[in-house]
Symmetry: C2
Subunit: 315 residues, 2 copies
């Protein structure tokens, strides 16, 4: 593994784990995906964590993800703003996705730990990440660890971060903490932020607190719909009124969080774009019922929420 002499800036700020649009037959709709990515980059997102949990990435095959990344790059989106999710249960899958991302110039990759086997030792997880990094074998690779114990069940401990930082200081450069537990994010910041480790909160609920404690931004589900306001807080977090702006973000997120998050995000986009097909999810997820979607739209409207400039592609 050659040492990195990489002086690219790190990706910072607000990233959206972009939801993936499907057609009625459950195929990926590349055209709507590209359009949504463009809307996000034009409306407050500094980067896109495509193929995250909220992207239903684990409901997509490796080949589907490679082709979708290519479609995004072919459409002219800057790979320097992309942090695709590339973690997988099988090392071979993680290597294929990560190698394709780094070869395509992506700013980094967001790596889940292998999540099928439970109660695995940190030693085994360290060997997993080490195998993937060794096999990709590219000094441009930047790995962001993805800690999301409520879903993956397999987490990223402080000991594991320390070991990976020691073994791969130029490659393992950051984390997304989706534990929902601020005390964990704080412990990661306290241990590693001073050494340059890039800590993203996994929710905009913690954006301001994370920035005030040495974090670099957030990668947040609600960034799919509320990126203008989230981006505004990121741009002005040291200015007066930041706490009020944070409270408004938390309020909007709470309206979404009354429902399963991915179907709720898609229902909101379907509503504001006037494109009902956006509501489609892949099994095992289930779309909101019409009553739920109407109730969500009503509560967002009462809150004054909008998605300016969002429209069905081609309309």
């Amino acid at each position: 593994m050659p040492k990195s002499s990489d002086d690219r800036p790190y990706l910072r700020g607000v990233l959206s784990p972009v939801v993936t649009p499907f057609k009625a037959n459950l195929e990926i709709d590349k055209r709507r995906f590209v359009a949504h990515c463009r809307w996000l980059l034009d409306n407050g997102c500094d980067g896109l964590a495509v193929f995250g949990t909220n992207s239903e990435a684990n409901s997509m095959t490796v080949q589907e993800k490679i082709e979708l990344l290519d479609a995004l790059l072919d459409a002219g989106v800057d790979p320097g703003r992309l942090m695709p999710g590339t973690g997988a249960c099988a090392i071979g899958d993680a290597v294929a996705l990560s190698a394709h991302a780094v070869k395509s110039g992506c700013a980094g990759v967001l790596m889940l730990p292998p999540f099928y086997y439970k109660n695995v030792p940190d030693e085994g997880l360290a060997r997993y990440f080490g195998e993937v990094i060794s096999r990709v074998d590219d000094p441009r690779l930047r790995v962001y660890l993805y800690h999301i114990p409520p879903v993956a069940q397999v987490g990223i401990s402080l000991d594991l971060i320390a070991r990976l930082r020691r073994d791969w200081p130029d490659t393992v450069v950051g984390i997304k903490d989706s534990s929902g537990d601020w005390s964990n994010t704080k412990a990661v910041l306290d241990a590693f932020a001073a050494g340059g480790f890039q800590v993203f909160a996994g929710s905009d609920d913690f954006l301001l607190t994370n920035l005030r404690n040495g974090g670099v931004g957030c990668i947040t589900a609600s960034g799919n719909v509320n990126s203008p306001a989230i981006g505004r807080l990121y741009a002005t977090w040291e200015q007066q009124g930041a706490d009020d702006r944070q409270r408004a973000l938390t309020q909007t997120r709470s309206l979404l969080a009354k429902y399963p998050m991915i179907p709720a995000l898609k229902a909101a986009i379907a509503h504001y774009s006037g494109d009902p097909d956006w509501a489609t999810v892949r099994p095992p997820l289930q779309a909101l019922t019409q009553a739920q979607a109407e109730s969500l739209a009503k509560s967002l409207a009462e809150d004054g929420f909008t998605m300016p400039g969002l429209a069905r592609p081609g309309m």
Copy 2:
């Protein structure tokens, strides 16, 4: 989906979720895999549930599994004795594996539910299985549901079984219950066995009880090493001394279960075959330490355990 007019007998008895041998570089060792499959079929196994949890199947890519199944069939193993694991998080992966298995003549497929997203509704899981079955679109397909909540976290409820039996009566034909909870297996038997549903216990600990309550056998980790004794109990379960034979199985399994199961199985095979490479596991799993492996071998020897006829292939 054409109706099945299928009169093939169902696979019954003792199935081993075959452990997968890896070379030092973590590549699959097809030759040792075929040899172990042959030993199992010659020593008490009625069938082979290749690509199960104990096979580290979720640490293998789809392509690796397809090629390994082909190697087994090319070696002359009867596909009528195979029940490969084909469940995956992505529908596309489950379809590719299941279609290949059914086209190859396999007796059935053992399907995990999609296991990344947690707390998903039964409706979504039913749609997942329905999509896979519809896309494979082959009347020979026989699906065995794989209920293993300690690992997958996402389980197969009685309501889900009832719904799938109603929607796909000729296709969804059985289950492996690895809950470790006999009351769950009993509830499944009581609800569905009389209707022809094929219930395998997920451990030989429950083999005798399962058979006495209308079950058809077991698919058991320890079948990888203790298949002669497990097969003997299956063949003689209605004869005198069956409870003693069950107690002996449970005793042997308890020696293995003092350690993480997959590394323990591989350590035992390495010991009895004289082939130390068998101990290799893929990350995130970790091989037993030498001290653990020696302690396991000692306790098995004290218990009078052997693996007759097991040898390094080509020796």
